[in-house]
């Protein structure tokens, strides 16, 4: 692969950063702003890293947005019932994992299309969330210790950024260095070939979907910590953006395969564009138009490079 094909997306990101830095040297290029971008992208990155697992399986999980929202509502409700931080987080993460595990089980056992099953699952989770919260934003009784998980700095780096880095390392480790990850990728690459070499489709799918919604639940917890409140649909906006990040990442580094580092890069592109355009004070409709063009452009750089090679 040519250099531009291999690192096209990275080059795209750097080009975008350079452009914004040139247009707004004081505000955008300031160190504090760049650090802040890493914080702004972190929740999206975590959700997208989760989605990377199911995309590695060549499937979709469209319930991630609903799971982010659910995690927030569940945790605040449990805090309200007087639970401690650790049990609340554990229960919420397990609930998150369970949502994906159920989807994965249904999808792998009965070969149902993941698109429709997880869309339906997202609707169900949304209903449950609504039921628990009664449709209201919940904000009371959140311990300060929990809130600190989603705000503030550690050694000059935003805590959220550290979470996102840890999530990236974890996802990359699972996908690249564990048998589970290799099996997920093999199923995603050629399901029948994987099955015939003895890879078990059902348990591996359950893990992939479960990890996906586990990450979403983590993002939901951190979002709640960051905002100090939970909204019954507060996480739904992550859905399409997360997949945009994964797809952007798929065009990076490896030939069209989902990968953790690429996903992080994809989330960074989305965050940088949003931040830069806001700083430049571009009217919101032009922001939409530019965001679309920049994303297409970022993919194009890579693909034109790839063709020429």
């Amino acid at each position: 692969m040519s250099f531009s094909a291999r690192y096209g997306t990275l080059i795209g990101l750097l080009a975008i950063v350079t452009l914004f830095a040139a247009l707004s040297p004081e505000a955008f290029a300031k160190g504090s702003n760049l650090i802040n971008i890493t914080q702004q992208m972190s929740l999206l990155a975590i959700v997208a890293l989760g989605a990377t697992f199911v995309m590695s399986l060549s499937e979709f999980d469209l319930s991630v947005g609903a799971v982010v929202s659910m995690a927030g509502i569940v945790s605040v409700t449990l805090f309200g019932a007087g639970w401690g931080i650790v049990p609340v987080m554990l229960v919420t993460l397990i609930a998150g994992f369970a949502v994906g595990a159920v989807s994965g089980l249904a999808i792998a056992t009965y070969r149902m299309p993941s698109f429709i099953v997880t869309l339906a699952m997202g609707t169900i989770v949304g209903g449950i969330t609504y039921w628990i919260s009664d449709g209201a934003t919940l904000f009371g009784n959140i311990p300060v210790g929990f809130r600190d998980l989603g705000r503030g700095y550690l050694a000059g780096i935003p805590v959220l950024t550290l979470w996102a880095l840890a999530a990236t390392l974890f996802a990359a480790f699972i996908l690249d260095h564990t048998e589970l990850g290799r099996r997920i990728l093999a199923i995603g690459g050629n399901r029948e070939a994987a099955r015939l070499t003895g890879v078990r489709i059902v348990p591996n799918s359950v893990w992939a979907f479960g990890l996906c919604t586990l990450f979403a639940a983590l993002a939901g917890l951190l979002l709640t910590a960051r905002l100090g409140s939970a909204h019954p649909t507060g996480g739904n906006g992550f859905l399409l953006q997360a997949y945009a990040a994964v797809f952007l990442g798929m065009t990076a580094f490896r030939d069209g395969q989902a990968n953790a580092l690429g996903t992080l890069l994809g989330a960074a592109i989305i965050a940088v564009v949003a931040n830069g355009l806001t700083i430049l004070g571009v009217p919101n409709y032009l922001q939409d138009i530019f965001t679309g063009l920049i994303i297409i452009g970022a993919v194009l750089v890579r693909n034109i490079g790839g063709r020429a090679a």
Binding site: R182, G189, N190, D255
Partner: protein, 505 residues
Amino acid sequence: MLEIEGFTKRFGGVTALDGVRLDVAAGRVHALLGENGAGKSTLLKCLSGVHRADAGTMQISGRTYQPADPRAAEAAGLRTVHQELNLVPGFTAYENAYVGRAYPRRFGRVDWKAMRARFAALRDRYRLDLDIDAPVGRLSVAKCQIVEILRALMDDAQVLILDEPTASLSEDEATVLRRIVRDLANQGCAIIFVSHRLDEVFALADDYTVLRNGQSVGSGQIADTSRDEIVALMAGEAFRHERHGDARAPGDPVLELSGFRVSPVRAPIDLTVHAGEIVGLYGVVGSGRSSLLKAVWGASGVAEGDIALEGAPLPASGIESRKRAGVAYVCEDRRHTGLVMHHSILDNAVLPHLDHHRAVGSLPIVSWRRARAGIRSALEGLSVKYGGLGDRISTLSGGNQQKIMIGRWFDPSLKLFLLDEPTRGVDVRSKAEIHALCNRLAGEGAAVLFATSDLEELLMLASRVVVMAQGAVTLDAPNSAVSRQSVIDATFHAPPQPSKPEIRV
């Protein structure tokens, strides 16, 4: 008719073709020969507009020919049957024949009746057995191959290119195909024909060109050469393929099937394979060999009956139970169900035994360093030709892919190997290597059960011959007790009803 001069094609660092020269005359069958990875398919892909050569010229009937895409090649009168199947799984056979062509139309709508009738007539003309109404996704590889060939015969071609068309055909269909090819040649069509079955080449071809490492190293008329001479040209040295099928004394039973049914509606099968034995399954296309191997592997959910490994009963289905018990399986269709084509060689090679390359003891973490080292030495033993372990496996030649697909299973602790068409599309030398490998496995006490459509191979490799017809076993005898004729006869036997095969020697 077709003249190629100085053809060169590089893929990144690999030089697949290096100044190739090829002259094909009208009305003649030209065999293109060479070992796996010699560049045959690449040359043909350049001809049919899939690849563009980096250098070199082509002329058809004296006019310069430079196809920009497959459409242009078709327009110039070339028809190609590629080595790998290229069919739309959801379409019927007859619709597949029309993809990329103008569909017949009636009142502005596609005229399905006319399409079907035309294709059915073609099938009947060549007296082929083919269900043309089922989606091809449900046909076996061999049937798909027949669809591909029929598609190329839909309208008159100037040049017909056949890249290993007989690799997945049994003797019977291969004979039909050879008849078709002769007919076309007699009508003035130029035919380029790739095959690793040398007896077939000698029976069919008029001229030959041998490629080695992307260069044309010899060409001439078949009548003026010999089998040994061709093999020497291909391999670059003298080389003999030993006949095995020896009478090694079989050990204890490894695999025992009794009343085993592939599915509830199929005939029950009784079969025993002993340690140290190489049992060859033979039959015509659709006789049920692949289904049997797959069911023994536990990969079909509907099998029933008794199956035991070294005396211990196994569940009727479930791949894990076989894997745990020490069974390995290699399927027949490497592209669709064998390999993950867009993954690397390494990824494909480690897949069956991910847990053999752990970094630390019991943790399911892969040590890539170990994996690389292990796979590299394993592939060396099989003389696989590849660039780097990180390359996509789809960039390897078909034969090399096949070797990896088998080689990745090797493990001394295995007791039974189920190999479905293990040498499909493999060159003579590699075929000999794979055969030697099977013998080595058998010598070490493993049992081998393989399916083949190649009669030569069957008689060369198997120590026992099992013939299937319509899903039932019609012949089960030691190699020494069968002849070519008795095997072929058995393929046409009506399956014994209702259960046990009668013919035992």
